[in-house]
């Protein structure tokens, strides 16, 4: 990222930059690691030493920002490390990723965060923004040193993977968030209602004899957190919203000017609980050995079609601010087991666009908005997620109709736990630039030196 780059012109693409309300055909010029501007160079001969990328037929957007990446570093590097997470990110058009703190040890003090940032600086091609733990060791017993973590550069606080069950602690965390102006990101799952579960509660769980968790386990926790945000005036960010009831609560809270933001995963936009059947979302009349697909197991679980439509509607109307991948790498052994034994989560960085646009059919302009503007506003960082002159030269180039096969051999992530594995999907990221440097190019001949 620090390497000095030659100026680059990304030619002839459809440039979509929601931060400026831009949707136009043009050339994006990157100089000295920052955006120079969006221009119409036509056939102009480029100066010596410049390089160009032909984006004809493609969409040129600000690099995506993921609010929700599990980096697995330190402590679980066999699942993912900064280099492989970075590879996965650039394959998916992400140029900034926010690292969730459920590591071993947890990101609950400045030295752990500092160590991670040092590693990322040398191993990651993308910008990594750390998220600090809300509580010490993520145990939910006492607050982590939030000011110390903020000084160390965290962009928010979360015990993600586990909820803050104590309303008292959650209230204090939200109180601190007002001073720090950083969001509290609570994993909304009321473990008091259901302690152990396998999938969404409903007809599929009943059929398969799996233990279900109802929508209310999520919405009860969100309702509590919204009330706590109301009395603290704190900043609440709700990760991976999965139910229609949750959406209603957030919509109402926003209408009451409570400081709440929300994100949805690409898989909750695209897939339903029926993917547990292992038949591409269809219901088989006879269960085959494909059933109980552990690659469709995550927290929160895939929900019903009604919920899927509700989160799409919320993404469209702005109730949900951002698409966050919840990129959750797991080793093969964590998924090659019974459904009940299997770990929660799927990788998400490389398939985000294909799930959101290719499968869920989200309009590309909206998807870009929720992958750039939405997250940058939550992060409060004007230098990323935009192609305004002077912004970081982070760019994603999208081939919306391009199909690709999700294969172990080509995934950048160290883990391959996605229900799309082996399947052909639409919408690929053709190239990615970070700080004006091309870090991913799937076009093969896309880069031409002037």
């Amino acid at each position: 990222m620090s390497q000095q780059s030659r100026p680059v012109v990304i030619r002839n693409g459809r440039v979509i930059d929601p931060s400026q309300g831009v949707d136009t055909f043009g050339d994006v010029v990157l100089v000295d690691g920052v955006v120079h501007g969006i221009e119409s160079l036509g056939a102009t001969q480029l100066p010596d030493g410049w390089s160009e990328f032909d984006a004809s037929g493609m969409i040129v957007a600000p690099g995506f920002i993921d609010l929700h990446t599990h980096l697995r570093t330190p402590g679980q590097e066999w699942k993912e490390d900064p280099k492989t997470a970075s590879d996965a990110a650039v394959h998916g058009g992400f140029t900034t990723i926010c690292a969730m703190p459920n590591t071993y040890p947890a990101q609950d003090n400045a030295s752990v965060v500092g160590e991670l940032m040092l590693r990322c600086a040398s191993e990651s091609a993308v910008r990594v923004r750390p998220i600090g733990a809300i509580t010490k060791e993520r145990k939910g017993d006492e607050l982590a040193p939030m000011h110390e973590l903020a000084d160390a550069g965290v962009v928010g606080f979360s015990d993600d993977g586990d909820p803050v069950m104590s309303p008292h602690l959650m209230r204090q965390a939200l109180n601190y968030s007002t001073d720090l102006d950083l969001p509290i990101i609570n994993h909304a799952e009321d473990r008091g209602l259901v302690a152990e579960w396998d999938m969404n509660e409903g007809v599929v769980a009943s059929h398969l004899g799996l233990r279900g968790i109802p929508n209310s386990a999520e919405s009860m926790m969100i309702a509590r957190d919204i009330e706590l945000a109301r009395i603290t005036i704190g900043r609440l960010h709700i990760p991976h919203v999965s139910t229609g009831e949750s959406v209603e609560l957030i919509r109402r809270a926003k209408s009451e000017s409570i400081k709440v933001t929300a994100e949805v995963t690409p898989h909750h936009l695209a897939l339903t609980e029926r993917w547990v059947y292992g038949e591409n979302g269809n219901v088989p009349d006879v269960l085959t050995e494909n059933a109980y697909d552990t690659l469709a197991k995550m927290a929160p679980p895939l929900r019903t079609e009604k919920d899927r439509q509700a989160v799409i509607e919320a993404l469209v109307d702005g109730t949900i601010d951002a698409i966050g991948t919840d990129h959750a790498p797991h080793a093969a052994t964590d998924k090659v087991c019974t459904f009940t034994e299997a770990a929660n989560g799927i990788i998400g960085l490389e398939t985000a666009l294909s799930l959101a646009c290719g499968i869920a059919g989200i309009d590309i302009s909206l998807a870009i908005e929720r992958l750039t503007c939405g997250p940058r506003t939550i992060l409060g960082d004007d230098s990323i997620g935009t192609l305004k002159p002077g912004a970081k030269a982070d760019v994603a180039i999208i081939d919306l109709q391009g199909d690709w096969v999700v294969e172990s051999s080509t995934l950048g992530s160290k883990s391959h736990n996605t229900p799309l594995l082996g399947k052909s999907v639409l919408s690929r990221v053709a190239a990615t630039f970070v700080g004006g440097v091309k870090v991913w190019d799937a076009t093969g001949d896309g880069a031409k030196d002037a």
Binding site: N282, E289, T338
Partner: protein, 334 residues
Amino acid sequence: MTLTLTNVSQQDVTAVSADSKHLLDVDSLTPEQIHKLRERASEFRQLRASRPFKSDSLRGGSIYTLFFENSTRTRVSFEHAGKALGADVINIAASTSSVSKGESLLNTVLTLDAMGIDALIVRHPHSGSPHFIARHVDAVVINAGDGAHGHPTQALLDVLTLQDHLGNLQGAKLALVGDILYSRVARSDIIAFRKMGVEISIAGPPTLLPQDWAPGENSLGVPDTEVTVHESVEDAIRDADAIMCLRLQLERQTSGLLPDVNEYSRVWGINAQRLALAKPGAPVMHPGPMNEGLEISTDIAHGSLSLVENQVENGVAMRMAVLEHYCGPTREIL
């Protein structure tokens, strides 16, 4: 095929080939196949009556039973059935295998598969474990009970037992009473009996029914699973041709799903008074093991209308038919 909005998330049920190598659940069997298994089991039952009966139809075959849960009748009847057909039957209890050293389920079954076995009969506390195993082994997988999901040979022997008693299952009304939510017998029985044209009435504590069910018509979201849920056990039993009393899993009380076992007995237990609501002579079945005096009163459990011992006897015969079909050279009998 590229996955797009048009071919994902469809609401339709898709047909999948029912000709399965494995017996993961009864859903893979057609009514005709169930009939043929039933007829074959009847033959075996008669042959067994003239002891000693020993066939060599599975001679040289090796059948492993791999049980991760305790069992008396299922494991023993599979062993009995396999030996009666001449197969070598080897029993593995998870508690005495390398599972107790932490070996994963995958590596356990791969190890057994590498020994060149013909069939793996599996009981496991996790729903879908036979499906998982079937993805990874060459051997035929027979489900001997997986979590709360299925228990296909139990359902088949229940069909055999009730058909023998009633003579005809088409249009018969079966009351299924008790813990449906956690019962693998209930799920497989629902599918098997629906395939046989049986109407199913259900009653049980609301905490032990699927949470998406309400009084009235319900299903498991796929064909052959339609049931009627009643608000009281009396309503479910009234005019029934037969009653299937499910086992109350006593650990449900400690997990807060039942206030009191005595209350369960009072509200949902099968006793003479309730049985009198059914059609005259309607039999009572129970998959065992029974909690006598709880879900079923002792006089009913051992009375003239009880089919419990028939179920056990039919268990061996039906498992012979199943093993012959799935493991034997005479697979074409179906």
